[in-house]
């Protein structure tokens, strides 16, 4: 009886702790690109925080908009002042889930192609997005990569006529994060 209870309890404990895993990063890399004939604009933010829950497949991202670094200082200023209005709307977030969780075995090393759906919030606008992503499991770490496009119009980011040709209407976003189990 005593042994049975012990085994029961131990197995319960083990399964629980193994399945309730959060993969976390505090320096996720998120970059974006705007390509036009006139000029290319790109910026990177290396301080995104993100959590992927391997139990229920939730995926969360959060970053400070003014953390994007540009090659040109004036672009950075305009990005914050005129386009993203980071003083008013300091954060951008994503709250979603892995749509096809069954494809991923978080206990087994490998690369898994998944679809992530959820709400992308920025510039005070929330939109539902569905993006393809690659999740790579390697021991206790995880990396997630995706590239997708967003329309400026969808997030009420207005581009004035004079610089219409300098800024693409569709911006390519790139996510490159390395997670650790916690």
């Amino acid at each position: 009886m005593k042994t049975f209870l012990l085994i029961f309890a131990a197995s319960f404990l083990l399964t629980f702790s193994a399945s309730a895993q959060n993969f976390i990063t505090k320096n996720g890399k998120i970059s974006f690109f705007s390509k036009t004939d006139v000029e290319n604009i790109d910026a990177v933010n290396n301080q995104a925080v993100s959590v992927i829950n391997s139990q229920n497949g939730t995926v969360n991202f959060s970053l400070l908009v003014n953390g994007f670094l540009f090659k040109k200082a004036l672009m950075q200023e305009h990005f914050n002042e005129n386009y993203m209005e980071s003083g008013k709307y300091p954060k951008a977030t994503f709250k979603g889930t892995i749509a096809d969780m069954t494809k991923v075995d978080f206990k087994k090393d490998g690369s898994y192609n998944v679809t992530i759906t959820g709400d992308l919030f920025m510039h005070n606008v929330t939109n539902k997005i569905t993006v393809p992503a690659t999740i790579q499991v390697k021991g206790n770490t995880l990396s997630a990569n995706t590239t997708f496009k967003v329309k400026l119009d969808d997030y009420k980011i207005a581009v004035p006529k004079v610089v219409e040709n300098n800024i693409s209407k569709t911006i390519e976003l790139k996510v490159d994060c390395n997670y650790e189990a916690r």
Partner: protein, 300 residues
């Protein structure tokens, strides 16, 4: 004994369960708090003004590191000259200037004005930066010393003239604060020294206190004003206080500044200590500054 063991197990299970029940959003909140925790990050205020000049004088703003700012400024004639001079547009004086950001807190600049054929050079050093978070600072403080060289021909070439007689020195402190996204104000105590003056009774040293500010009208347009009050005993007789009102219009890499002012000069000594026009008499000049930035060096 057995009871204690079972009790211990349940306790362990309880702890494990609690850890498992911790919701992702909770962890997210925890992380976000860590990220935005103002304890270990300092957020510096940016874009207190759109460019490094308010109208005639300096704003508290610097050009960014590695950025060259080419400034072309014009002042036309007096509006009260009437239609014959097309309200002053037939006349123009200009200043050509080149400003460069050496570091985030130090910029240098040179310029040449047609008015009195003056060369000027300055540097602007940010001593304090307005910030919140870990390091809190309510104001930005800059120091701007300027040297100007007036290259007009000697009034009397028959006497012995010294090159130093052509020199003017200005020391200016700028105390600025961005009060909100749209509103910024600054104070500019200024000291000017002139090596040679016309009359023996004229002072060589001038003191003035400037006040200036901007209010954004839209994301890309702001209204600016600038006023320099000259201290009574430290001014040239017959000179007026400089008052300017203008608009900043920003389009991509350009900033256009259109303004009305009673000063014709565009370096500190001329517009602070040598303004003769009077607003109430209609001695108002229309003018503009165009600023175009070029990224030369590396930003980061």
């Amino acid at each position: 004994m057995k009871l204690i063991k079972i009790w211990c197990l349940f306790l362990l299970m309880g702890i494990a369960y609690e850890a498992g029940a911790q919701d992702t959003t909770d962890i997210m909140n925890l992380l976000e708090n860590e990220m935005t925790s103002t304890k270990d990050m300092t957020f510096y205020t940016t874009a207190t003004f759109k460019t490094t000049r308010l109208v005639n004088g300096h704003s508290v703003e610097n050009v960014a590191k590695g950025v060259l700012d080419v400034k072309i400024s014009h002042r036309f004639g007096n509006l009260n000259e009437g239609f014959y001079e097309l309200f002053g547009l037939d006349k123009a004086t200009m200043r050509m200037g080149f400003d460069y950001g050496i570091t985030r807190y130090l910029m240098v600049g040179v310029g040449r004005s047609t008015y009195q054929k003056t060369y000027d050079a300055f540097f602007k050093l940010k001593i304090l930066r307005q910030s919140k978070g870990k390091r809190k600072m309510p104001i930005t403080l800059s120091y701007v010393p300027t040297i100007a060289y007036r290259s007009l021909k000697w009034e009397d070439p028959t006497i012995k003239n010294y090159a130093t007689s052509r020199l003017f020195y200005t020391h200016q402190l700028i105390i600025g604060r961005k009060f909100s996204e749209g509103t910024s104000l600054q104070l500019m105590p200024t000291f000017i020294h002139q090596n040679l003056v016309t009359a023996a009774t004229d002072p060589n040293d001038f003191f003035a206190i400037g006040i200036g500010g901007r209010q954004k009208l839209s994301k890309r347009i702001s209204i600016n004003a600038e006023y320099y009050y000259q201290l009574k005993d430290y001014k040239l007789p017959g000179t007026q206080n400089s008052l300017s009102i203008g608009f900043d219009i920003e389009t991509g890499g350009h900033v256009f500044q259109l303004h009305f002012t009673n000063s014709i000069g565009m370096n500190e000594r001329t517009f602070i200590a040598d303004t003769k026009g009077r607003w109430d008499k209609g001695d108002i000049l229309f003018g503009f500054n165009i600023s175009r930035v070029f990224t030369i060096g590396k930003n980061h």
